[in-house]
């Protein structure tokens, strides 16, 4: 597909998506240009799918000021959501597809290899946080958020790297710009352990106050799954009673 994608400063993640239909996306391209001018070096990467969506990745220190710019200068008045992502492949393996698991095995936290995709995707090697990451990423933890402009009817997803496990995992708060970010940041704080500097009351949202750990991190075990594997795509699990080790579980299930 033609030029719509070529706005990205780095050619790495700016690959053309297979499902792309429209040729040139003027609104999003103009927005990306404005962001490039405003943010300068702080805009690390971008990904644009014409007619669909726009992703940008900014430097950690520019995270809060990007929100301010979008809200007050570009009139992105609608705050959609804010969350985080842990790019580390799950150390417990991906129970459902061993093939993909093998590919990811032996890679560092910062997966940079060519992930052979199982399907027929046209998105080839993607450098950065992990396979499939639009606008890339250099660290394990990333925050991302989304805002809309009601006038241009465009949405943009903003990402920023936060750091690896040993790092302080700090990023500026959005609550000063979008007060609605309050709960979203509290959720990201408890689920990923990311601190939002300047947040007025950063405490747990869902979990009890004395809960230890950050459940949405990939290395936080999902105990229910570790105890009893999920049948998966095809029911390869033996029928209750057929296998010796399955006897106890089957009995417990029968009671439930």
């Amino acid at each position: 597909m033609p030029s719509a994608d070529t706005e990205s400063p780095e050619a790495g993640a700016g690959t053309t998506d297979a499902g792309e239909e429209a040729a040139v996306d003027e609104g999003r391209s103009a927005l990306l240009e404005a962001l490039t001018t405003e943010l300068g070096d702080a805009l690390l990467d971008s990904h644009l799918i014409a007619g669909k969506d726009l992703w940008i990745r900014v430097g950690t220190e520019a995270w809060a000021s990007t929100a301010d710019y979008l809200r007050n200068r570009q009139r992105f008045r609608f705050f959609d959501f804010l969350s985080a992502i842990d790019w580390m492949p799950s150390p417990y393996g991906r129970s459902l597809d061993a093939a993909v698991d093998n590919i990811l095995e032996g890679k560092s936290l910062v997966g940079d290899g060519e992930a052979e995709d199982g399907g027929d995707s046209a998105a080839g090697a993607v450098s950065g946080a992990g396979a499939g990451a639009y606008a890339g990423g250099e660290t394990r933890f990333q925050v991302f958020a989304r805002v809309y402009s009601l006038t241009t009817k465009l949405g943009v997803t903003i990402k920023a790297d936060v750091g690896n496990l040993g790092d302080p995992l700090q990023v500026g708060t959005w609550t000063g710009t979008y007060p609605g970010a309050d709960w979203h940041e509290r959720e990201a704080y408890e689920m990923f352990g990311i601190t939002f500097v300047g947040h007025p009351g950063l405490r747990k949202l869902y979990l009890p106050g004395d809960f230890e750990g950050h459940p949405m991190r990939k290395d936080f075990p999902l105990l229910a799954r570790l105890i009893k594997p999920w049948p998966g795509i095809v029911d390869v699990e033996p029928m209750p009673g057929a296998a010796d080790e399955g006897g106890g579980d089957a009995a417990a299930e029968g009671d439930a």
Partner: protein
């Protein structure tokens, strides 16, 4: 206790007393002001929301919602499930309009896979989407009365919602959790005679809307308790991420059915082929939120009527592989659900399961404004405002 309006105070007090008697409201005294603990088991919370409000007399100084009583960790659970299995989970987010939860997730997967459902499937999807909106919002229209002490409307609501649920059940097999949407289309075609039955059910809903208008909208007490109460200005609403009828009641003409910023209007749904309008109300108070939802139910009936007239023939499933693998990439697709914007941010690494799914649920953002909007209100209005913001606990806690 301030006694500027003795009559009002007495009414408010008797209201609180009634609530306390049958709804386990714990009142405890503290040195500075009073802390009132509402919930987690309270009729106004649609589940288990706990609200700690600090009072100065009758006035709320600070309100702090405490969630998590129903947190099921869907974002973690979906990481170990295949895409078709996730469909069952997301049904349980907003349990009153379940089908509407499935649609944005399926659309996100379809967008990543680069497939599109055939026209007939898109039509029926839109049809059920609007039916679940009707089923969801009819309950709100009745329930709002209950929060104000009028018990009658909710019985009408439960009675007439059943007509829609019966239709959903007869086509999908599930009253509350249809699990009917599939990547690439739908599970099944419509049963014979379904279209005519649905028309009859719509007639019942239209009558119900008229009854609600007679019973509630014109009611003096209702107007006194909702007009000018819980006013949310448009800019505040947007910066808190309010969506759906809540933001339209603040005068913002924004509806994802028409203005979807991802993929243009009508991506995967056929709203662009229908004749309908977006209802707004300039006031931004509890009354406006009720009124907008009432009009939206009527508009949904109007849309379903058109959809029933024009369902195209053809297959209901596109060609999809038997084992669904979603190619690498990220996609965010949101739709205008009964409660507001519901979206899924899907990150796929090319496997059978998603790498990460962020569930953007409407009630979560809608409720995040409560500390702001409840500040300075009076205790009885807390219940009205909560009811008018309309949340489902499963949609907050996920």
């Amino acid at each position: 206790m301030t006694a500027t309006q003795p009559n009002v105070d007495r009414r408010q007090l008797s209201y609180i007393a009634a609530q306390a008697a049958d709804a386990r409201v714990n009142v405890e005294l503290e040195a500075e002001g009073m802390t009132l603990n509402i919930g987690p088991q309270h009729p106004a919370t649609h589940g288990t929301l706990r609200l700690v409000v600090r009072l100065d007399g009758e006035q709320v100084i600070e309100a702090d919602p405490i969630m998590g009583y129903m947190h099921r960790g869907y974002e973690k659970l979906v990481e170990v499930r295949t895409y078709p299995q996730i469909n069952t989970l997301v049904n349980r987010i907003d349990w009153l309009g379940s089908f509407a939860n499935e649609v944005p997730f399926i659309l996100a997967c379809e967008q990543l896979m680069g497939i599109e459902a055939p026209p007939r499937a898109q039509w029926i999807r839109t049809l059920f989407f609007e039916l679940s909106r009707i089923a969801n919002l009819t309950l709100f229209l009745g329930d709002m009365g209950v929060q104000l002490g009028a018990v009658t409307p909710v019985f009408y609501a439960f009675r007439d919602r059943e007509h829609i649920l019966n239709q959903i059940e007869s086509a999908t097999g599930g009253r509350f959790h249809p699990n009917f949407d599939r990547i690439g289309g739908l599970k099944d075609d419509l049963p014979a005679g379904w279209v005519d039955e649905t028309r009859r059910a719509l007639g019942q809903i239209r009558k119900f809307c008229d009854v609600m208008e007679d019973l509630i909208v014109g009611n003096e007490i209702f107007e006194a308790r909702t007009r000018g109460i819980g006013v949310i200005p448009a800019d505040v609403a947007l910066s808190y991420g309010l969506s759906g009828a809540n933001v339209r009641a603040s005068g913002v003409d924004w509806d994802l059915r028409r203005d979807n910023p991802v993929g243009g209007p009508g991506a995967g749904l056929v709203y662009d082929k229908l004749d309908w309008k977006v209802w707004t109300h300039p006031d931004g108070d509890s009354f406006a939120r009720y009124w907008v939802r009432l009009q939206e139910v009527r508009e949904a009936c109007h849309m379903v009527d058109q959809l029933l007239d024009s369902i195209p023939a053809g297959p209901i499933m596109a060609k999809v592989p038997r084992i669904i693998k979603v190619p690498e990439g990220e996609a965010y697709v949101a739709t205008e659900n009964p409660l507001g914007e519901m979206g899924y941010y899907v990150v796929s690494q090319g496997g059978l399961e998603p790498f990460r799914v962020k569930i953007r649920s409407a009630s979560f953002s809608n409720m995040s404004i409560t500390p702001w909007v409840l500040k300075g209100t009076y205790v009885p209005d807390v219940i009205t405002i909560l009811a008018s913001l309309y949340f489902i606990l499963g949609d907050i806690d996920r």
